[in-house]
């Protein structure tokens, strides 16, 4: 009896409090219609106040890059707010340099629209569009990594540079969330977008992507990303990946050999065990066709009793150190966990690659 009453009374009390809060939110948190001015009158909008700049812009089909989906953890959604943004919040300061703070750069996901607001958005970001696509095929690469190929429906083509990424819209209980995934299909397939997705336990987007079947519809925005491939074929390309950080490399490599069959390129890929190896065969095949393409896979963990491996062992930066000679003009692209990026950057620095020519995707 006492349990029943406990549950009932506590339940009804919390319901009453929640109802009170909802009513209060309805009347207190509405800020009415605010003016949202982009690039000094280029695109004036009237929007409902009270929400974040990022989500409001998103609703108006202006897609600001954001890898974390508005949680304030990636620092990608930087835009200039010339007035009406309020003071810089403590949640933003870790991502903004002093110079950026002085020039009114803010994180769009942290700025709440409370009054008329004036922002400046680079032309390139205004060109980002929302795509609808259909799952063409899903294949399992390893026990937790899947390759998902999407066929674009509306718009039918996406022109991008290798190394750029898209933001997948994943449904969740309240609002859809966005997560960044690099495009792994080469640029000469403009009506396809291929992703390499590792299942993260508890991850909203990766769980969603892993549950997709052929014929399902997927929405995403893009393309995003600053990476520009050096167009001079005499410059050697070095790709270093770890874990599931393969997608951008695959795009870069296939794009390069489509355009410059003799260009020199290295791919270093670090795995833990033989179970984590994928794409090795197709890259070896590619290397047979293009003698200037070199593939090095390395395993970081001890081999199990029934595993066979004749390639490199140890962390991937050791292989990079072993194979690369100094004094060659190179551009490097890294993709993997922060400790790997740090170690490889140090090695590449010793090999004489200036830091301006080292690009990376950290995750």
């Amino acid at each position: 009896m006492v349990y029943l009453w406990s549950v009932l009374s506590f339940g009804s009390l919390t319901t009453a409090l929640a109802a009170l809060l909802m009513v209060a939110e309805r009347y207190l948190v509405s800020y009415g219609i605010c003016k949202l001015d982009i690039n000094a009158g280029e695109k004036p909008l009237e929007v409902e106040g009270g929400r974040t700049l990022l989500s409001t812009l998103y609703e108006n089909e202006i897609f600001i890059p954001s890898a974390c989906g508005g949680k304030g953890t990636c620092g990608h959604c930087k835009i200039t707010v010339t007035s009406g943004g309020g003071p810089v919040l403590p949640t933003e300061t870790p991502y903004l340099s002093r110079k950026e703070i002085r020039s009114n750069v803010r994180l769009a996901c942290q700025v709440k629209i409370r009054e008329d607001i004036y922002v400046r958005i680079p032309e390139e970001l205004l060109n980002i569009r929302m795509f609808a696509s259909t799952v063409e095929s899903v294949s399992e690469l390893t026990h937790d990594i899947k390759e998902i190929r999407l066929r674009l429906d509306e718009p039918a083509e996406l022109s991008h540079r290798p190394g750029q990424y898209v933001q997948i819209q994943a449904p969740s209980s309240n609002e859809p969330v966005f997560r960044a995934y690099s495009i792994s299909s080469p640029v000469y397939e403009p009506n396809k977008v291929e992703l390499v997705v590792k299942l993260v336990p508890g991850g909203v987007a990766s769980t969603y992507l892993h549950s997709l079947k052929t014929g399902d519809t997927v929405h995403f925005t893009g393309p995003y990303g600053e990476f520009r491939l050096n167009e001079d074929p005499s410059v050697e390309i070095v790709c270093v990946g770890g874990g599931c950080g393969m997608a951008p490399m695959k795009n870069i490599i296939y794009t390069i050999y489509d355009k410059w069959p003799d260009r020199s390129c290295w791919l270093f890929f670090g795995c833990r065990t033989t179970d984590d190896i994928f794409y090795l065969e197709r890259f070896e095949e590619l290397a047979k066709k293009h003698p200037n393409f070199h593939v090095v896979y390395a395993l970081s963990e001890q081999l199990g009793p029934d595993e066979r491996w004749e390639g490199e062992t140890g962390f991937i930066h050791l292989s990079v150190d072993k194979y690369l000679e100094t004094g060659v003009k190179r551009q490097a692209f890294l993709c993997g966990p922060p400790p790997m990026i740090e170690a490889v950057t140090r090695v590449l620095d010793e090999k004489g690659i200036p830091s301006d020519d080292i690009f990376y995707d950290e995750f």
Binding site: V2, S6, S9, F10, L17, V29, L89, P90
Partner: protein, 211 residues
């Protein structure tokens, strides 16, 4: 004891039984948010408001729902809504009421004083876990206050807490300009100053006493 008037309890809660300086409740935001008088005043007002309202609501909830019929009769109060004794829920219920109220206050402050909202930052939602607020609700039950006394106590405790943090903020602003020995800078000197304020408040002790 129940004869003590609400006014006396109010004054006692501010001066002789200051919840911060005699019970040392609510120390975390007291130390963290006492850098500037302006912020301290804002937080003090918010805490006072939340304290007064939550003691009143928690009073109604405790004596209206949680307590058993027999106990209510023994204390000479009106019969509660439920005759069953579910006072074991009092902690969680008190916290729920406080949390909801803080949310409400947060919305108010954000709407009507964005400047204060930004100044308080994370400490506004953290009022939820300010022990002074839960402490006041529990004292109200332990000491067997009636409704007027509870509200007086809640309000007094809030004013007392606000008074203490504003005093502290004033002193810390002054201390910015004084030459404090290096090992004492920051939190240590804040603790020492708090002790001195607490001792000063003990001077009021003979005035009124509440249990």
């Amino acid at each position: 004891m129940t004869e003590t008037s609400a006014i006396v309890i109010l004054i006692a809660a501010i001066l002789t039984n200051n919840i911060l300086l005699t019970n040392f409740l609510g120390m975390c935001s007291f130390v963290a948010c006492s850098g500037q008088i302006r912020t301290a005043v804002g937080l003090g007002i918010a805490v006072t408001f939340v304290l007064t309202m939550t003691t009143a609501i928690n009073y109604a909830v405790y004596y209206g729902i949680l307590i058993s019929a027999e106990e209510a009769a023994e204390l000479g109060r009106a019969a509660p809504l439920l005759s069953t004794d579910i006072t074991h829920l009092s902690f969680i219920v008190f916290i729920a009421v406080i949390a909801a109220f803080v949310q409400l206050v947060e919305m108010f402050v954000e709407r009507f004083s964005p400047r204060l909202y930004f100044a308080l930052g994370i400490f506004l939602p953290l009022i939820t876990v300010n022990c002074a607020i839960l402490g006041a609700s529990l004292f109200m039950v332990i000491r067997g206050y009636n409704f007027a006394q509870s509200v007086g106590f809640g309000f007094g405790a809030g004013v007392g807490w606000a008074l203490a943090i504003i005093l502290m903020a004033g002193l810390r602003q002054k201390m910015n300009y004084s030459n404090i020995p290096e090992p004492f800078r920051g939190v240590p000197i804040a603790m020492i100053v708090t002790c001195v304020i607490a001792m000063a408040f003990m001077g009021f002790a003979g005035m009124v006493a509440i249990q």
